[in-house]
Symmetry: C2
DNA sequence: GAATCTTTATAAAGCACCTTTCATAACCTC
DNA sequence: GAGGTTATGAAAGGTGCTTTATAAAGATTC
């Protein structure tokens, strides 16, 4: 046993500095000491000491004294030093690797990406190293300063142990120990997570409650975020692509799930072709199908409605069980816009008790990277503020 | 703001007494002071002071000195005084009200139940009062000592505000303010929760991870428990009875959900009748259908398989999204045993990636009451151990 | 321009709690 | 009964927070 429970009055110091640090973080812009006293409920000498400690350790920075408009002696003002603990995020995909560096406030200092030209894990690792190097240089951060690394990658990932268990889209990927490779360069914890989960984290940022964040493109996945924390369950939460629509005949396995094969971006195009009609015959991709539907093309509207119905039927059981506050759709199909969303909403109203809010993600790019940075930051803060 | 952050070294005392109390709780049976020192990592004088305080406040009780087998001076031994903060649980159903009293260790001190003979909320409240009185008397606990009250009731409940929003099975129930009525008698917090949710808590006790606890009888509901805490979502989590099976024609609403109408206990009997055959023609209830299936009756086996398939198809999407570690089935249909369970397991293996453990609940009776007591206890402990 | 008020910063005194250390007590085994 | 083991109790020392008092810097007022 002997958990070595923190002893002595030092714990108090820890708790109080954490409270002060959290108060500075939550405020925006420089904060006066007196404000911190009010925000934390601590006494002035306590806050003074905590701030002193935080200035020494680099987490806070002092601003020039500025005469207050209220009269009185100018106040000392401090703010978060974002560069105290920068974090590195990586989005490792089959064709591209993206790296990003963010500061403590969540500001993205640099983002770089590189294509993966050849197959093989050796090349992939080299690309990862190169992209990382570039991002760090652009952000003017040395590897030794990085406080946390988070990696997003497709496939099934054991988030707790940091292992890639199964990644059909990147051959050989599951066998290399990515964490060890990066821990050799960085003196900090390294986390790995499924890319759909990280995208969900990115989408969930700033939201409370329960969220189902759907990534809908060629593939179809989702992440479940409950009160800002990723829900992993037994390890494979959010795999909506493998939901089997009614009447689906399991064909031979190509790695994709039944629902992906039925209403993935590719399948939507195929459905439109089969439906025929003047505009749909020439539709090259899902976007054109949705555009036609938006223009009122009856055949396209019918296809969209069938797709929406299949989606609604697939997620309705989960809506009833999970009772999410919102479902947010991102990915290529999200660009369909209101046409698809309204149709889904209509069907969900029919299939659930009180349907959740249904939205499209407004995150433009780098969703997975943003999620990785968010996870890294979240862990850094959790670590720093833990009592 | 000014959250009035706890000040001074008094916080330390709070933290340390909480640590000691938790250590005593987690140990089973009387604990020596020296053991507590090891368990908490605190120093002896600190533990001594904390124990003194806890003895004074009644949370701990001292045992007679008992010569140790190791030699040396006999140690002072303390243990949890379960009666320091007894909790009251209530299961308010349409036909019966059950009350129970438990001590801090979770031991049920008394359980009483009374039928509800007449309709109307006045009578119902009178029954609640009478049952409560009896349970308290049997447990030898005065109302003033009760530290927490938790109530389980069917319908849709706002667990945070303690309001019954919608309860079709108990007319007029949603309008009365149960919490206020009970708070007049008890000087403590009063919580209300949906009965299926409480049953889920009872089933989840001692389990980690994510759990889907299904109540399957005439009605069909479920509770989601994640790491020992009830998942409420937007307020209606676990409503699997309203999942719509493929091909289901929405008939006029009788308050029950589509899945309940399809594979509830009543529907199973009807299915068996329709299937015909020597044994099924006379089947009076679902239990006889399962008995026939267990005996190998082909028609009964077919019915069970269809029921299992419908259930598996209904929950499979949620399994993929939620990734529960286990699904536990309780309620009347749970008595079907292995016949049903094996069939469900077979279908789930086909419909999910890695199927969760599938089990029957071994909680015999008073599941809702047990859950209510568990929720009350959980809150009491959380309150007492909060730093 | 000096006095006064307001706001903030700094320092010292006092209190609470934990930790260390030493002495004492009770009991067992040999 | 001697020696070892385990537990108790009291005093001294350290750290951190709170209270109180004093000083500094600027705005306002007369």
């Amino acid at each position: 046993m002997a958990e070595r429970h923190p002893q002595g009055t030092r714990v108090l110091r820890r708790i109080n500095t954490a409270a002060v640090l959290a108060a500075v973080r939550d405020a925006d812009g420089p904060v006066r000491l007196t404000e911190l006293v009010e925000l934390t409920g601590l006494t002035r000498p306590t806050v003074t000491q905590a701030v002193e400690e935080l200035l020494d350790s680099g987490w806070l920075q002092q601003h020039a004294a500025e005469p207050s408009s209220l009269g009185g002696r100018p106040a000392v003002r401090v703010s978060l030093n974002g560069r105290a603990a920068p974090v590195l995020g990586l989005d490792v995909g089959p064709h591209t690797v993206t790296a990003g560096v963010a500061d403590l406030a969540g500001e993205q200092l640099a983002v770089t990406r590189k294509p993966v030209r050849r197959k093989g894990t050796t090349h992939l690792l080299a690309v990862i190293d190169a992209v990382t190097e570039e991002a760090l240089a652009a952000a003017d951060v040395t590897a030794g300063r990085v406080a946390m690394v988070a990696i997003g990658t497709p496939g099934i990932v054991d988030g707790e142990k940091g292992r890639v268990l199964f990644a059909p889209s990147i051959p050989g990927w599951s066998s290399i120990d990515l964490v060890d490779h990066l821990r050799a360069r960085f003196r900090c914890a390294v986390g790995v997570e499924n890319d759909a989960n990280l995208a969900a984290l990115a989408v969930a940022h700033g939201r409370d409650g329960t969220l189902l964040a759907v990534q809908w493109g060629e593939r179809l996945g989702a992440g479940v975020v409950i009160d800002g924390r990723l829900h992993r369950g037994a390890g494979e939460a959010g795999e909506i692509g493998f939901i089997r629509p009614p009447g689906h005949n399991p064909r031979d396995d190509d790695g994709r799930g039944p629902l992906e094969r039925t209403i993935g971006a590719e399948a939507i195009t195929a459905l439109a072709r089969a439906a025929g009609g003047a505009r749909l015959d020439t539709a090259a991709d899902a976007a054109e199908v949705f555009a036609a539907a938006a223009d009122g093309d009856p055949a396209a509207l019918d296809v969209v409605d069938r797709v929406a119905r299949t989606f609604a039927e697939a997620v309705a059981p989960s809506v009833l069980v999970l009772s999410p506050h919102a479902i947010v759709i991102s990915g290529g199909v999200a660009r369909a816009g209101a046409v698809l969303l309204d149709a889904i909403r209509r069907h969900l109203e029919d299939l659930t008790l009180t349907p959740p809010a249904l939205e499209l993600s407004d995150l433009a790019e780098h969703t997975v990277l943003t999620g990785a940075l968010r996870m890294a930051l979240d862990r850094v803060w959790r670590q720093r503020l833990a009592t």
